[in-house]
């Protein structure tokens, strides 16, 4: 139910103007300082650094669909830089809203792993750079909403049963009530799709990193419990309806000749539910997760090594999904 855990820290350099007041030379300085720091702490050998030129389309969107960069990072006019660790668990954006924003992803609910790695990287970077920090406001960020720890601790959860039983709103309102944010698949300003929800803290100042993580974890555990109960309820009382929905979705994925990105995402999410409920065993969760990324427009084009218009994309997407699912069965 918890697909992934993500920890993001925002940092700024003490002696360079922030984004709103940074000129091209300042931006360049931030990129080169970070590149140098990453080199010094031995990160560059284990990952890949992208210059601004290397972030042009379609790579930019592809990185976005893989959750390695934010929508804002793609639209900013600033000179950017990006570091992506070998396993794509670590990524570091340079010159997004803050000089540095880095994230660590872990699968499942695992803040120990995600925050542990983020803290190590943070300390190493601090040994090379002078961070903007005040004892009163903590880590200084471009926007006061991120002050303090500048930590965004989030979990991506898949809650299809709560959506089907129409309890999702009530449950998520509870999360909002204690000051957490609920967002769609791609973070801020995106719609929820395929019943995936991102739960994260809003407040960053006045609570320590571990307190923030505890709150998110606690809410996440509750969501898991509610989702488990909803699944039990569905299987006990509405088994036929659930089976119908799950197998219809699988059949469409196997038979469709035209698939849009959002339809594919939604259908795959229902198949995912079928797998976790033990109704489907011909496809694995890993395969569904892989396909969920591949069906997004930019990644699809990279996989197929072609630039396609919308209609072509929908056809090629359907073919890719169909062939993958048929191949798996045989």
């Amino acid at each position: 139910m918890v697909v992934s855990t993500r920890v993001r820290l925002a940092r700024n350099l003490a002696d360079v103007p922030f984004a709103a007041k940074a000129g091209p030379a300042d931006q360049e300085r931030v990129v080169s300082s970070l590149r140098w720091a990453l080199q010094e702490i031995g990160c560059l050998e284990q990952g890949r650094f992208f210059d601004d030129e290397q972030l042009a389309e379609p790579r930019g969107s592809c990185l976005l669909e893989r959750h390695l960069v934010s929508p804002d990072f793609l639209s900013t006019k600033a000179r950017r830089g990006l570091y992506v660790g070998e396993d794509e668990a670590v990524s570091l954006m340079i010159n997004e809203e803050d000089h540095v924003r880095f994230q660590v992803l872990a699968s499942g609910l695992d803040f120990a792993e995600a925050f542990g790695r983020a803290a190590v990287l943070d300390e190493k970077l601090e040994s090379q750079l002078a961070y903007a920090f005040s004892p009163e406001f903590g880590f200084l960020t471009a926007c006061p909403t991120n002050l303090g720890t500048a930590l965004r601790a989030s979990v991506m959860v898949h809650l299809p049963a709560l959506v089907m039983t129409r309890e999702i709103e009530k449950v998520l309102r509870g999360a909002l009530h204690i000051g957490l944010a609920v967002r769609g698949l791609f973070g801020e300003g995106t719609e929820t799709r395929g019943n995936y929800f991102q739960i994260s803290n809003q407040r960053t100042l006045g609570q320590s990193e571990s307190e923030i993580i505890e709150t998110v974890t606690e809410v996440c555990r509750q969501l898991i419990e509610y989702e488990r109960k909803a699944r039990e309820y569905l299987m006990r009382n509405l088994r036929t309806e659930v089976e119908d929905k799950v197998f219809r979705s699988l059949a469409i994925l196997k038979g469709a000749r035209i698939l849009t990105s959002s339809e594919a995402t939604n259908l795959l999410a229902t198949v995912r539910l079928g797998i976790v409920l033990g109704l489907i065993n011909e496809v694995t969760l890993a395969e569904v997760n892989r396909l969920t990324v591949l069906v997004r427009p930019a990644n699809l084009q990279v996989v197929l090594a072609a630039t396609l218009d919308g209609a072509e994309r929908d056809e090629r997407r359907a073919t890719l999904v169909r062939e993958t699912l048929v191949r798996l069965r045989s």
Partner: protein, 166 residues
């Protein structure tokens, strides 16, 4: 033909005045300009114009104040910060400090950072604590009329302040 004033019954009525009596009944009167001024009646339109002027005046005063508050490092004005919602540099947090404190409290429900710090941050926090402690002791010494101790503390405080600045 124009109605005559309901008060002086003489001049031509210029304003329609609504009056509510103690029983809650509403009556309408036609009043001439002269009687309206004597009784202190104001036309609603005039009143609206006055209120709009006052608001505009207050707004422009606030804007002037916001424009006058400038960060010495990046030259961002507080008005600019209000428009963008983003500060221009680390120094802005000192320059706009007093205006930001209530804002930060509204956003986070707190104004004091808890959690990880930087190495230099830890040093500064320590120094700040030392200064505060010295100032408290100095005040206590002065209040207790222990001037010898106060003088010693004052020198100590000056040294500590110099070090903090450097």
């Amino acid at each position: 033909m124009a109605k005559s004033c309901d008060i002086c019954k003489n001049r031509e009525g210029a304003l329609k005045v609504s009056q509510v009596d103690s029983d809650g009944r509403m009556t309408e009167l036609w009043v001439c300009a002269e009687c309206a001024r004597q009784r202190g009646f104001t036309a609603v339109e005039e009143l609206k114009a006055d209120v709009a002027d006052v608001i505009a005046e207050l707004q422009s005063r606030v804007e002037d104040k916001d424009n006058a508050l400038v960060c010495p490092d990046c030259r961002m004005t507080y008005a600019e910060f209000k428009r963008l919602g983003r500060v221009g540099c680390a120094r802005c947090y000192e320059a706009f400090h007093d205006r930001l404190v209530p804002l930060v409290r509204r956003i986070h429900g707190a104004v004091q950072h808890v959690g990880r710090t930087t190495k230099s941050g830890r040093k500064r926090a320590q120094e700040r604590l030392t200064l505060e402690r010295l100032r408290t002791h100095l005040q206590q010494a002065i209040d207790g009329e222990d001037y010898e101790r106060a003088a010693a503390l004052r020198d100590q405080l000056r040294r500590a302040e110099d070090e903090t600045d450097g």
